[in-house]
Point group: C2
Amino acid sequence: MPKLDADPEMPLDPSSLDPADWDAFRRLAHSALDDAIDYVRDVRRRPVWQALPEDVKQRLNEPLPAVPQGIENTYRNFRELVLPYATGNIHPRFWGWVHGTGLTTGIISEMLAAAMNSNCGGRDHGALYVERKVVDWCRQIVGYPDSASGLMVSGTSMGTLIGLAVARNAATGGSVRAGGVAKTCNSFVTYASSEAHSSLARALELLGLGHNSLHRIVVDDSFAINPVALRQAIHEDRRAGRRPFCVVGCAGTVNTGAIDNLTMLTEICESEKLWFHVDAAFAGLCALRGSLAGLVQGIERSDSVSFDFHKWMYIQYDAGCVLVRDGRLHKNTFATRPDYLQHWERGLAGGGEWFTDFGPELSRGFRALKVWFALKTYGTEKFGEMIEKNIQQARYLAQLVKSNPMLELLAPPTLNIVCFRYRGFQLENEELDSLNRDIVAELQIRGIAAPSTTCIHGKLSIRVAITNHRSRREDFDLLVNSVIMLAKERCC
Amino acid sequence: MPKLDADPEMPLDPSSLDPADWDAFRRLAHSALDDAIDYVRDVRRRPVWQALPEDVKQRLNEPLPAVPQGIENTYRNFRELVLPYATGNIHPRFWGWVHGTGLTTGIISEMLAAAMNSNCGGRDHGALYVERKVVDWCRQIVGYPDSASGLMVSGTSMGTLIGLAVARNAATGGSVRAGGVAKTCNSFVTYASSEAHSSLARALELLGLGHNSLHRIVVDDSFAINPVALRQAIHEDRRAGRRPFCVVGCAGTVNTGAIDNLTMLTEICESEKLWFHVDAAFAGLCALRGSLAGLVQGIERSDSVSFDFHKWMYIQYDAGCVLVRDGRLHKNTFATRPDYLQHWERGLAGGGEWFTDFGPELSRGFRALKVWFALKTYGTEKFGEMIEKNIQQARYLAQLVKSNPMLELLAPPTLNIVCFRYRGFQLENEELDSLNRDIVAELQIRGIAAPSTTCIHGKLSIRVAITNHRSRREDFDLLVNSVIMLAKERCC
């Protein structure tokens, strides 16, 4: 046996990239950690957002560093040029797009994941057991059977891409992998409501099916898909010689938070023999709360589903999950094992399933750790409470809007999204669009709050999407008062 | 103006997910940070890898947590059940597959990125300026013009997918996005050497072109593509009515580290009017070292290129980059702006280009920060030195192999990969395969070293891929001695 025992005493290689002075490195790391914790703890004292000043932009625009600047100098630059200019979503009054808040557990779990530096593509090591467990917990949350498979992904855009790739592969009996779309998927049609997210069309583009193959179905007054119109479209397409193959249900539309009737969509897909994928980006997690689970009933009967942890579970970017009811179909879509990736009985190349057989990535970071930390630290019930709180806050804000004659509610808040505008007096629609756009920009620029905007029935809407565990009712009072104030500044 | 000044004094919401006791949280975080730093500093004292004991697997297999376990308990579980069982690639004697080592700067930058929780899909905030700068630095490293665009990705698998998606879109004048592959890309053919990575075929599958559309070209003795055979194949395909559209060059093959003649491939692609993508997963970074840059000459004339930071720049998983010479073609492949993602002149929805217009993801984490930290801390010259060191170590190991009659070098080490085997005496090829497979498994199981295996000319090979800044020459001596020892254990 070689002298392994003596080996640990081998001096550290001075030519490696490890710190020459570990103590100095440790001091800096602790100081940076204190800054990071203070930064989150004191977020309410700062503006929600602030633009980068021109001189900061210029200083960030530095030449490619050839010689070492050292960690201390780099950290100083970060602290001055980057840290003050975050997206803003950790702030209690950030409600733009659908951005989650982040959790303090994420600071710890991300630094630990960095120390381990695991590659979760495959092989046999702890990180894979953690990711398998997280996927298994997700399977239970959604209500899928034991035979389901899953994968942590960067978010629902990637999850939808994977879900539809499995659907496409299943519909062609696997022949699309070799033969391509031209030989196997001609005239395939996918269905979703007119409110479905743009990532769906982008997934169809990437898969080579083209976005023209997406048939958008009208919605009802609550912005949920009209199932009668869906059935009609399927039948018409069949009569015209096209090949319906997939329906995508929305559990939480981006504009208004509408949820399609998933049970009805399941039944249509079963009777029409179509794949049923659910885009559950944020609202899928309503399953965590008994009183809300009914909203997403039927999700457990879908063929695949994708959702995000970084939205309504408040976990750090990026973190999502895709689940496939039939794990074999999932694996058949991606598995490839060349000589250099063989699986063995023993050693590092052993273990259970490799995640690289379930998605397009080979190198994969340990993003499961932050979800594992959060689920254990808080438990599902606590997340359910937070989701319920955000929904109640949306109702509270909707009431504030309805009780103010200067404001107009543009869509009923089915969930956690409120769309409204300042309606003013004697202003044309175009003037109102411009005024409300200005109001939102000023809210952001002054650092008061960060809603985003969308368009509802042709009207520019202030859009407040609440996936924020730090928001309080007082924050919504402040929002409404500020909207009125900014409108008056402009109209008087 | 609403009383914003009074607002910072609003008490923290006790129902939020923030710590009830910030001081306790801070103590735990500092203690975890010390553990993380010790873990990396003392890596040489531990086995390279160890399998998870059965009881650890069972304890990780816990029910979905409903009630809070708290951060202290969660961290204790992590420390006991996860931390000791890493992939092993931070160890000085891990040389399996192509796994990078990780950098201590990554521990700091990942915890800071978690505190900011930026979403790098778009909008106007500091993280985007950092990512734009990192992409710009990469553009300079590769030698692309100012008009090039780029995106940080999870790795080269995703980078290749994006590069080929741009190629496909360009070749169809953009019509593939709406019409799909069936109407626009029939009989498209992509070319790469027989040694090209499996992620290429997977990208073609996902894009709907099918892996049959990949024509693999023979290699020469150094495992680089044979350009004459490539030209012949293109001409034959054209005569047969097929439509050549893309050539993928290898800068560092996975088996042996071979580099195609990129200048020659550029010239073929220019004269044949084909897209030229380079899979530069690890060897692209040879451009960082003056004495090595000649190996990848021609890369600057390609149409798109993808490479990883988490391989030969030792940065934490996952981190790669894709660059496209013509930024407009890149953007045209992905850009979509529905109502809820409109770009503005002012406020948070302003700023320059949004990364979501250059790839399939909308939610994107701040993975650029760890690259920015590393490039500034160490500078490109230091990374160039490390790359050179690893190449010299490969030559050193090859010499050790050649000077030992019991060992057989299976491929000339062009770069940082050495493929060899124990050749023994009077053993059949099949017995040798089994013996060498056993040797590698034992090296891993005993925690001595972690090479992987591949197949070279039908022979199972011990494969040592050196992308490790912690390795020393003594580590390779130990490897060779251990291989001989383990072989003797089995043969005597």
